[in-house]
């Protein structure tokens, strides 16, 4: 009986001492094509918008949309801080959040985008219950995706109660090209030297949030505060119904 499958019809290659299968190569190739196709599709659809559950938690007042903007320049030229896909080789900025349960120690977190255009402009957001958080920002750096987020510069973010929409500022990050990878693409390193500027673009933030959360009420502005090693970590007990 002829078996059809990945390992069927194995034969010994005469004089070469190799085992092969007549249909192994086509199977491998088709698997490879599928993998490439899948990763490409995954890359194209990586825009992380707020989920329906998060939106309903925001509308119910259980969570706050925390909006911030990252302005990134590499060698004095503007760059998108958040790449559209993990398969493009652009420099990236990674974000981490620490809160009550981690006593401020940040962990990597998936941050959302309100739209593709706002992502390109550097706007990003989190849906969080009220409380004190520590935002860690790594980059712009080629290996921001793998570096320890706990070593990144941090800012304290205070989310007041009964707030649906909050803007915490526009953070300016600078980087520089430092050589190139073997297979192409610049190696990007941060160039802020621990000095950061947080701008206030609350009018832009207000119009962006009004567009996406028309019934969200008034936006509050609470600029993030730089936290440096040695400063106290401030924590606050979350409300029992928070984090739903």
């Amino acid at each position: 009986m002829k078996r059809n499958g990945f390992h069927s019809e194995q034969r010994h290659a005469e004089g070469r001492g190799l085992w092969h299968s007549q249909d192994t190569l086509p199977s491998l190739l088709s698997a490879l094509v599928l993998m490439v196709l899948f990763t490409h599709l995954a890359g194209c659809t990586s825009l992380n918008v707020l989920s329906d559950a998060e939106k309903s938690a925001i509308n119910a007042g259980e969570k706050t949309v925390v909006l911030l903007k990252i302005e990134c320049t590499i060698d004095n030229k503007p760059q998108e801080p958040f790449r559209a896909s993990m398969w493009t080789g652009e420099p990236i900025v990674a974000l981490g959040i620490g809160g009550f349960e981690t006593v401020g120690e940040p962990g990597r977190v998936a941050h959302g985008f309100l739209s593709e255009d706002s992502r390109r402009a550097g706007w990003t957001c989190f849906a969080l219950p009220s409380g004190v958080y520590y935002l860690a920002v790594l980059g712009p750096e080629s290996d921001a995706g793998i570096k320890n987020i706990r070593e990144a510069p941090r800012w304290r973010v205070d989310i007041p109660e009964n707030t649906r929409l909050l803007y915490i500022g526009t953070l300016q990050l600078t980087g520089r090209a430092d050589g190139a990878f073997l297979l192409g693409g610049k190696i990007i390193k941060p160039a802020n030297n621990e000095e950061f500027i947080v701008k206030n673009e609350q009018e832009l933030a207000k119009s962006l949030l009004a567009e996406h959360f028309p019934g969200g009420g008034e936006m509050k502005t609470s600029p993030m505060q730089r936290w440096r090693r040695g400063d106290p970590i401030i924590i606050r007990t979350p409300k029992p119904d928070s984090g739903k």
């Binding site: 401020g104 400063d231 007990t237």
Partner: protein
Amino acid sequence: MNCVRRPFAALLLCIMPLLTSCVVLPIPTTESKVLAGKPVREEQLSFLKPNITTKQDVIERLGNPNVIWEDVRVFAYNWDMRQGILFWAVGAYYSGGMGTMDIPKHYALLIQFDEQDRVQRLERRVRPPSQSYIDFLKEWVRAPSPQSPQNQLGQGE
């Protein structure tokens, strides 16, 4: 010929992981080396008097705390002392590696204030390595306050 070699190769593959070995040896040391933070010695705490010492006095004498738990009015000062050295060695087939690492002991001075920002209770404690920091704080905050506020220095060591 291949029919003979293949089972032998499979057997060899099964045996190879057993040829690895690992040695871990903890060596206790005196607690003389500070690994992290600024130790708070007992003699530094003589100024702390429950119901008298204020939050401002504490900051002036001990500096800013590492952690402020706002709503329960708790200050935490943390430091790590070396309590031992862990010697490790790993060998596998023809290669291997060895090294040492410090074994820390996590200390904390916890101070709770009353609503008038005066010291209510305080304790110097050791956090077990298996306990998360927030659970350690929660456990202390939940612990019943003594009948009369008193200094509990040295406990937990």
